[in-house]
Amino acid sequence: MRKTMTSLLAGIGLVLACGTSVYAQDKSLTIFWAEWDPANYLQELGNEYEKETGVKITVETTPWPDFQTKAFTEFNAHGDAYDMVVGDSQWLGAGSTGGHYVDLTDFFNKHKVGEVMAPATVKYYAEYPGGSSKYWAIPLEGDAVGWSYRKDWFEDPKEKEAFKAKYGYDLDVPKDFKALRDIAEFFHRPDQKRYGIAIYTDNSYDAMAMGFENALFSFGGELGDYKTYKVDGFINSDKAIAALDAYKELYKFTPPGWAKSFFVEDNQAITENLAAMSMNYFAFFPSLINEASNPNAKNTGFFANPPGPNGDQFAALGGQGISIVSYSQKQEEATKFLEWFIKDETQKKWAALGGYTCSAAVLKSDEFQNATPYNKAFYETMFKVKDFWAVPEYAELLQQLNQRVYPYMIGGEGTAKETLDALAGDWNATFKKYGRGQ
């Protein structure tokens, strides 16, 4: 018994020792993000910070499908495992009103962050509620949805000739959504195991919404009025209906089994010679110009989301800002890191490492725009982006969108108008439930 007690005490002691050793080492910060390349780049940037200041930065990651769940589980438990989190733009409402994020408004004003970062990134990654001048995050990773395409297929003279004969104009990077559709149809050859286009269709998180938004915003449609929460006449407007039909039309030209596709599948469409064009976040393009991960790297080109029928050109926003977790014991140390992070030279380093800086100055520089084949398209896109609702109940709105749009897109149930009318009804009910816009 004495032996058991001794070993038990020793065990407890060990646990305490391990626990306290973490706290004893004050000079360390943990940042939580999803598991992808930019998180590795951020770790490298963190290593630079450690060299300069001695404060150790650890970037902890989890796979994308778990990211939201894991972060909010920690927030809801008021845990201090993470000092900072690089959260999705839609989380701003839940993070700020839930008391999970530290209010960074003073920091923003003191360091004039609003002037340093590109306007769209400040609006969507940092401010909540929209137009309130209250800020909860520092724009960290800019991102939006763009397109990659097979240059060798597009530039083949025989294809060019056949395309012109069929459609009456030259085969080139699509000038608008109609051209996007035509090219997708042209290259869709199931008998040759070649398909027209790869789009987002996964309905488990925001993939389907992002894909649809690309069409919606470029067709001049809107999700709703972000100030009054009015959705009738917005999400079910004629423009929105036309946009949904256009997006559904593209699904016809996707590779077989394209009903649960997101960034992994869409990059595979290019690397595995499946599709002529593929939608994806810019953040996933670095692996497409790397010959180790894409055998077609030399033949892969990029373009920004094309305009719709009326010339409107927008893209769905991805990307994240970095926030300080209000349950962290090291908020002061975290603030110091953010001060360092927004410096021009840090932002340059961040961009050089592969991070998508939101710094307006760096974005505008020729050095940045010529660094990769897609940086120019990224720069153009970042000034015409729009995002999903950022209210705390955004996940319910997202689920309702998936619930209505997916059966229409994939299963062909009902019409676009019925789908979007029903969605407007769902959203109205949800906003009513939370007392918004009443």
């Binding site: 998180y205 077989p256 705390p392 996940a395 319910e396 994939i410």
Partner: protein
């Protein structure tokens, strides 16, 4: 020797030297288990019952308001939730029936003297030993219309198993049947080998046909153990999550547990998801009770 060790304490043991009675040893073993159960099972169960009557959201700091039966009313009026239940029922019936058919069939085949019977049985048990998530990921590849081996082997071209809304649920059920038939097989084998041989001999003497023998001797004697397999598999199938979640995102294959997960951990509607969890719990309890009643009846015969 073994039995005396349990009932009385060996005089020379250390426990006896310290004067620990049988009672204290029993308490030492049982109390931690009961405490563990109370802290991690019973307490959350009761606590979540309380939450199910509120509009609590774990993701906000807002206080929980008592809303009475609102959550239950909303859920039972939600056509999507009903469709989830219908899908789940369909899935349970298909997959449990399939497992019963395949598992019992294979057990009948194995219940004779064949060479390498032990090895064969062990190999057949392999699917059951894999993790659900791994099986899901593997079958996703097997079902792939472009390079999946199933379409290749069956010559189905680019047949879409998982992205066809009408097929997705069957594809998930098929995977579940593959994975869990061995479980039914194992139980059936145990039941079959317990059937007294003399009954078959008597039937043979009376010139009973194979069908008569099967329906009058084999099936009634194996029935109780088959019922146990059905109870286990129904409960498991009812709460299937990982397999279906990994394989497909078709709304036509959205089982109730997936809906519950989304409501609780993506939308953070904690109060409402507690209510849904209770509805599911009551349903599983009711179904299991019916089965257990039936099982007792079968045993009595």
């Amino acid at each position: 020797m073994a039995t005396t060790m349990i009932t009385t304490l060996d005089r020379s043991s250390r426990a006896a030297a310290r004067g620990l009675s049988d009672m204290s040893i029993r308490n030492l073993f049982i109390i931690p288990t009961i405490l563990f159960l109370i802290v991690f099972n019973i307490f959350p169960l009761i606590y979540s019952l309380g939450y199910s009557f509120t509009d609590f959201r774990a993701s906000t700091n807002a206080a929980a308001n008592f809303v009475g039966l609102q959550n239950y009313r909303d859920l039972l009026n939600d056509p999507y939730v009903w469709s989830n239940f219908a899908i789940t029922a369909k899935y349970v019936i298909i997959s449990v029936a399939g497992q019963l058919l395949v598992g019992f069939g294979v057990a009948m085949l194995l219940n004779r003297d064949i060479p390498l019977k032990g090895l064969l049985t062990t190999l057949l048990l392999l699917p059951m030993m894999l993790s659900m998530a791994v099986v899901g990921l593997f079958w996703k590849l097997l079902y792939d219309p472009s390079f999946g081996i199933i379409n290749y082997a069956l010559g189905l071209g680019t047949f879409e198993w998982l992205s066809n809304p009408k097929m997705a649920l069957y594809a998930v059920a098929l995977t579940d049947i593959w994975m869990w038939s061995p479980f039914v097989m194992l139980l059936s084998l145990a039941g079959l080998s317990a059937v007294p041989k003399h009954l078959y001999e008597a039937a043979a003497i009376d010139r009973a046909g194979p069908f008569y023998t099967f329906f009058r001797i084999t099936l009634p004697l194996v029935a109780p153990i088959l019922m146990i397999a059905v109870i286990f598999r129904t409960m498991e199938a009812f709460k299937t999550f990982d397999l279906a979640y990994i394989l497909t995102s078709q709304p036509t294959a959205e089982l109730i547990s997936i809906r519950l997960y989304k409501m609780a951990f993506q939308e953070w509607q904690t109060g409402r998801s507690c209510a849904l969890a209770y509805i599911v719990l009551i349903m599983v309890l009711a179904i299991t009770n019916i089965y257990v009643k039936y099982l007792n009846k079968v045993k009595e015969r």
